[in-house]
Symmetry: C2
Subunit: 121 residues, 2 copies
C-alpha cells in the first residue's frame, strides 16, 4: 500500500516546496494534502515534515509567519521565496531527468557492448 520509505528520499523536499508554491500553507495541512493527493500511498509523518520545513526555512527557500485564528490553535504558515522558486525549478528538472534515466536503464534488455545506447532496435 504505502511506498517504500527509501523512495521518498530526495523527493519529499520537492513535493513540499511545490505544494507551498501553489499557495501559503501550514504543516498540519500539508500532511493531509499529501495523503489525499497520493491516495494514501505517501504517508508524510509530522516527524518528517517539520524538519523539512525548518531546513527549507534555514536555507531561505521559504518564510514562515504565525496566524492566529478566531478559534483553534495558531498555525505557522509557510510562503515560498524567490530563491525557493529557483530551487523548485532545479529540483523539478533533476527529478524528471532522473526518472527518464532510470526508465532508460530499465528498458535495456541486453548486455551492453559499450557501443549501443540500449535502444534495443
Amino acid at each position: 500500500m504505502v511506498f517504500n520509505k527509501e523512495l521518498l528520499r530526495g523527493t519529499l523536499e520537492l513535493i513540499v516546496l511545490h505544494l507551498i508554491s501553489i499557495g501559503d500553507t501550514y504543516g498540519y495541512a500539508l500532511t493531509g494534502r499529501v495523503s489525499e493527493l497520493s491516495e494514501g500511498r505517501i504517508d508524510l509523518k509530522e516527524g518528517t515534515l517539520y524538519p523539512i520545513l525548518y531546513r527549507l526555512e534555514n536555507e531561505g527557500m521559504v518564510e514562515s509567519f504565525w496566524a492566529t485564528q478566531e478559534r483553534g490553535v495558531p498555525r505557522k504558515y509557510y510562503r515560498i521565496t524567490e530563491k525557493g522558486r529557483g530551487r523548485l525549478g532545479e529540483l523539478r528538472e533533476e527529478w524528471s531527468a532522473f526518472v527518464e534515466c532510470v526508465a532508460k536503464i530499465l528498458m535495456c534488455e541486453r548486455q551492453g557492448d559499450s557501443t549501443d545506447g540500449c535502444a534495443n532496435p
Copy 2:
C-alpha cells in the same frame, strides 16, 4: 551533473536486479554499465554496490559463483533467481506507481478542497 545521491535510495536495488536479470554479471562490470547507461549521471560506487549484492544474495534474490579466467583476477558472478524475478517485478511496479504519484502531485496547481483530484480541468 551527477544526481543527488538521495534520489538513488530505493532505486539502486531495482537497477542492479534488473541488470543482473538480463544476463549473469559481476560487480565491477555493473559499476561501468550503470555509468554508461546513465551517461555518467549515476556513479554507482563499489562501496555502495557490493553491500547491495550481498543483501540481494542473503535474501535469495541472486546466487553467486566465482569464475576464474585465462588471465586476470577471478570474478564473482551473480545470477538472478526465480524469487529475484518476482521481486524485480514488484520493484518495477512500485517504482512506476511512485513516479506516477509524484507526477500527479507536481501537476497540481491549486490548493485542494478535498473534492478535486487535482486534475486541473
